[in-house]
């Protein structure tokens, strides 16, 4: 469990980091908090020739509030969000989610951009950003682009990032009224990777609801039918649970993942989505 040899660079600016990444495309890996890359290096699951340490880049630590969005630098660590040093554009959800990531030592170092770029299906941030309709600012020495969080991950540990690209910032839309939200995470123990993680965000006085499901065995998926069912709910009752179950089954079938779930997997996901929905509706 010792890494294979690699070169190490610590660029002093974002531009320099992007240039290094571009010059070493395919051979270099970015190191931010190191909470995922570190173990992967030790297990030799990752054997880059060059590790580019972006952990101290000030450009990635910025947090800005614009008219339409909260912009969080990719290098902001989970603990900064947990502790409220970053404004919460989601009415408290960001703090809740951050506090549930692993344990404090990991949150002190792990970054929001690193978590998104790593694209672990059971990670905490990806479904949250999808549900909030966030966008990701992608940078490379070639230029900048912006894509919806929903389009970012393409599979397990796979994203749309080109080898010379990195996430620069996350843009979370800000509305006049913070959305109502619900978040439920089922894990073997507190802080563990999620067996099931559901996020429900209700906008516009309940007219629109966005529901996203993720977990160890499931890359994040948008639950459109479930969202529609939730949007119509005014108050919670056991009928609503049944409506969500119907919606979820339709969504799982539509995404073609229903067959891979055992009845117990489905039950856990259903409980998770239902509880997130219930919290959002009650909030």
């Amino acid at each position: 469990m010792k890494p294979a040899g690699f070169d190490y660079a610590r660029p002093g600016s974002l531009d320099e980091a992007l240039r290094l990444l571009g010059d070493n495309a395919g051979r270099g890996r970015l190191l931010a908090g190191g909470q995922s890359l570190g173990p992967m290096l030790n297990l030799r699951l990752a054997t880059p020739e060059l590790v580019i340490d972006i952990g101290r880049l000030r450009e990635l630590q910025r947090v800005e509030t614009t008219d339409g969005a909260l912009v969080i630098g990719a290098g902001v660590c989970h603990a900064d969000i947990e502790d409220g040093r970053v404004p919460d554009a989601a009415g408290g959800m960001l703090r809740r989610v951050a506090a549930g990531i692993a344990y404090r030592a990991v949150r002190n170092r792990g970054t929001i951009g690193g978590s998104l770029a790593h694209a672990d299906p059971a990670a905490d941030w990806p479904p949250v950003m999808i549900a909030l309709g966030a966008e990701l600012d992608i940078a490379s020495a070639r230029g900048r682009r912006r894509i919806p969080a929903a389009d970012f991950a393409t599979g397990v540990l796979a994203t749309v990032l080109e080898p010379d690209e990195m996430i620069e910032a996350i843009r979370i839309p800000r509305a006049a009224n913070a959305p109502r939200w619900g978040h439920y995470k089922i894990a073997a123990k507190p802080g563990d990777f999620a067996e099931s993680l559901a996020v429900v965000v209700i906008h516009k006085n309940g007219a629109v609801a966005q529901a996203v499901l993720a977990g160890r065995s499931q890359v994040p998926i948008v639950l459109s039918e479930t969202g529609r069912a939730i949007a119509g709910i005014r108050a919670w009752s056991s009928d609503q649970h049944a409506a969500i179950a119907t919606g979820l089954d339709a969504d799982l079938a539509q995404h073609g993942v229903d067959a891979q779930f055992s009845p117990e997997d489905r039950a856990i996901h259903l409980a998770c989505v239902s509880r997130a929905a219930r919290e959002a509706i009650a909030s």
Binding site: A4, P39, L43, A188, K189, P190, D192, P263, A267, I268
Partner: protein, 780 residues
């Protein structure tokens, strides 16, 4: 501070170094010129090795089995009837028999460079079907782990005591349960580790090993390396947890010691967490079918039991394959007055790592079986689970009580422990709460477990000597020496790796000599300090090691008194040793003055002084069958029937481990054991796919309880002295870990009972809970 003897809640002397991270473990020790060893491990659970090739130009730094000249395979063949031997090769020979088995060793200037070498070793395998399920393993046509065997059975033991036929005939209730305790791994913070170095001056090989058993490690290394014991010194420095895992001699330590001799340079190996989770997935893996025969009131008349253990590929040293399942039959009656037991114990080989005892040789599995049986019986009889136990527990007036399997339960009031647990958990209130229902819809369940813990057993006829195994416990030495400044050095053969011996043995010395525990140094974990003693396991150290310390300190009193009397110009009969001084009719002298006289001023000594001086060497022989602690656990859980999650709401433990040397440390042992037991019950499992690939190879996949998983347990003590030990002490190292799987399973099943669901498999993961609920629904 002065005397702080037996019974004081003294804080641990060792805590400062541990809590500040200043312990000294094998990985903290580096020697000049040291090389680092790593091991190439089999990617297959079962395969033939077709060919091997070393990296070109680096052949001298890579070793296969054939290179280890003079090294013998680890052999551990007990006298179990029909036992089939299975040598545990230090490095694989011909075949690999579990994923993670060591195939080659590489040494280099750093661990990373050694791992680079591994990348360039070529091994061609011919994969074979893996034996992964112990029931299918015994069917005809199963692939065989060992080609030369006719089946996959290490041994089958049969056990029949009492009049079983009469019991079955008289029975009004017959209940049967099948239960499964899946494979897991003990989880010390520190993995295994060793560092070997050859001293040319003394021609001695010093081997630092993270072990619970320094002297047996020395003996084993001598046997398998083929070098004299006098040339081997084993030092076990601070050990970061062990739990049974570090009682066996691993092939890595043999290979590393060989390499240090062969290369003439110190060589160190530090097991990493991946290796630990894959290669040391080596405990539990039990299956039971247990049937209880009871009269109309639920009084158990007889027990019939099948106890199976999937014991992995090889027989490890010194605890052989067979002791896990083999321990079960004679303990199946638990703490109950049962007059007939019939059992069959099956020890089955598979393509998994060899099973080792983990915090209780088979104890948690046995307790799981007899305690889930008791709840099933309560259900059949229609009474409270604690009531069925009270009807069956051995009563205090029966003590000392000889079980039908000939164990002598020495002392205690078993029913009283259960009654106190009932009171503490408040059964009436829990039942009322269950009837009310929970606002969040979860279901409340109540569970109990009662058991004894056989501790500090000796060589006894029903103990290990009869089994012909390599490590028979029993005797334990101690040396006590008063220093020239009147302080005390105590040397023992038992090891301390969380038990707090540095504190409690100082308390025992203080109890006898009145010396301040702060002025006592305990030395251990070095075969040049203690040349005998078998180390720390089976809850033996406080009784046996502590008994030896007490004996040595008592012996030391005589020369201290005699010199003190002479200095006081009193008769020997007129003086008394207490509070670190010798008191005579007119005044007293301190231990420091006595030490000074012995070491610096022999002219002040009595003319007929015993030249043996201020050193006492003593030993302790534990009573053959051991002394029996006992306990009652009670737990309340909330089961979320939507998610399958189990939350522990309340946990109580009533414990009687005889006279407590330090109640604070007893509680520490119980709480630590409980944490392990909760992992066993709810979280920890070493999972494999059908081809034998380990799926729990990182801590992201193998779930260990965290601080938030452990409830604020409430502990109550009873303190019935043992008639058979110094001060009436009994061991308590395993107790906390034995009860939780049973108690928590009973609580979960109590919660699920209205749904007709039952779960008898650990860990009780959310998916297993949900599956049990679904199975019940589908049965209706």
């Amino acid at each position: 501070m002065a005397k702080a003897g037996v019974g004081e809640r003294l804080r641990r002397k060792e805590d400062e170094r541990f809590l500040y991270g200043r312990g000294q473990y094998v990985s903290d020790i580096a020697l000049p010129g040291m090389l680092h060893a790593v091991f190439l491990r089999s990617p297959h659970a079962h395969a033939r090795i077709k060919s091997t090739r070393k990296p070109r130009g680096r052949e001298a730094r890579v070793f296969f089995a054939a290179d280890l000249e003079g090294v013998k395979p680890i052999r551990s063949s007990p006298n179990f009837p029909g036992f089939k031997g299975a040598d545990f090769p230090v490095l694989a020979v011909g075949k690999v028999r579990y994923a993670g088995e060591a195939v080659a060793m590489a040494v280099a200037e750093s661990p990373a460079a050694a791992e680079d070498l591994l990348r360039d070793i070529e091994v061609e395998y011919e994969p074979l079907d893996a034996v992964m399920d112990m029931k299918r393993a015994v069917e005809p046509g199963s692939p065989r782990v060992h080609d030369e065997w006719t089946d996959n059975v290490f041994c089958e033991m049969r056990f029949d005591v009492g009049d079983f036929e009469a019991a079955t005939k008289a029975a009004k209730h017959v209940v049967t349960r099948e239960c499964r305790m899946n494979r897991q791994t003990p989880m010390p913070l520190e993995g295994r580790a060793c560092l070997a170095s050859h001293d040319r001056r003394t021609d001695e090989v010093t081997v630092y090993v993270s072990t619970q058993v320094p002297v047996p490690a020395q003996i084993g290394l001598s046997s398998f390396l083929g070098i004299s014991q006098r040339r081997l010194r084993v030092i076990s420095p601070d050990v970061g947890g062990a739990f049974g895992l570090k009682t066996f001699l691993d092939g890595e330590t043999v290979a590393v010691t060989w390499a240090a001799l062969h290369l003439g340079r110190p060589v160190r190996w530090i097991q990493d967490r991946y290796e630990h989770l894959v290669c040391d997935a080596n405990c539990r893996d039990h299956w039971y079918r247990i049937t209880g025969y009871a009269n109309a009131e639920g009084k158990l008349l007889g027990i019939d039991c099948e106890a199976w253990c999937d014991t992995g590929a090889y027989s490890p040293w010194p605890w052989p394959a067979g002791i896990e399942a083999g321990t079960a039959p004679s303990n199946m009656q638990g703490p109950y007055d049962v007059q007939a037991v019939r059992a069959r114990a099956m020890t089955v080989a598979s393509n998994k790592p060899p099973v080792q005892p983990y915090r209780g040789v088979a104890r948690p599995g046995v307790c799981f079986a007899h305690e889930t049986l008791m709840d099933a019986l309560a259900l059949a009889v229609g009474c409270e689970p604690h009531e069925i136990r009270l009807r069956n527990l051995v009563r205090p007036e029966q003590m000392p009580y000889r079980t039908v399997s000939k164990k002598l339960l020495d002392s205690g009031d078993y029913p009283e422990a259960m009654r106190r647990a009932v009171q503490m958990i408040d059964v009436t209130a829990v039942r009322a709460r269950q009837r009310r229902g929970e606002p969040d819809g979860r279901r409340i369940g109540l569970g109990f477990a009662a058991f004894y813990e056989q501790t500090a057993y000796g060589t006894g006829p029903f103990g290990y000597s009869a089994w012909g195994i390599e490590l028979v416990p029993g005797l334990e030495p101690a040396t006590a020496r008063l220093t020239g400044d009147g302080e005390l050095v105590v040397d023992v053969g038992v090891h301390s790796h969380g038990q707090g011996h540095e504190t409690i043995f100082a308390q025992i010395a203080s109890e006898i000599l009145g010396i301040d525990p702060e002025k006592v140094t305990l030395r251990y974990g070095d075969t040049s300090i203690s040349t005998a003693g078998t180390g720390t396991y089976t809850s033996r150290s406080t009784v046996s090691g502590g008994g030896a310390v007490a004996t040595a300190c008592k012996q030391l009193k005589a020369p201290i008194a005699r010199i003190g009397a002479h200095l006081l110009q009193a008769k020997d009969s007129e003086v008394e040793v207490r509070d670190g001084r010798v008191f005579g009719p007119k005044g007293s002298v301190s231990f420091a003055e006595i030490g000074r006289a012995w070491y610096h001023h022999p002219e002040e000594l009595p003319p007929n002084v015993d030249p043996q001086g201020l050193t006492a060497v003593a030993g302790y022989k534990a009573v053959d069958g051991g002394v029996f602690s006992y306990s009652a656990h009670g737990v309340v859980v909330a089961v979320d029937t939507d998610t399958g999650a189990v939350e522990i709401l309340d946990y109580v433990i009533v414990e009687d481990c005889g006279r407590m040397v330090n109640p604070l440390l007893v509680e520490g042992q119980i709480i630590g054991g409980l944490a392990g037991g909760i992992g066993n019950a709810l979280l920890e499992e070493s999972v494999y796919d059908e081809r034998g690939q380990p799926l729990s190879a990182t801590l992201a996949d193998y779930h260990v309880p965290g601080a938030s998983s452990i409830p604020d347990v409430r502990i109550a003590h009873m303190e019935t002295p043992s008639p058979f030990s110094e001060f009436g002490m009994k061991g308590v190292g395993e107790s906390g870990a034995i009860g939780p799987p049973a108690a928590i399973a009973n609580a979960v099943n109590d919660a699920l009972c209205p749904l007709g669901a039952e779960i008898l498999e650990t860990p009780m993961t959310p998916k297993r809970v949900l599956a049990a609920i679904r199975a019940a629904r589908e049965r209706r």
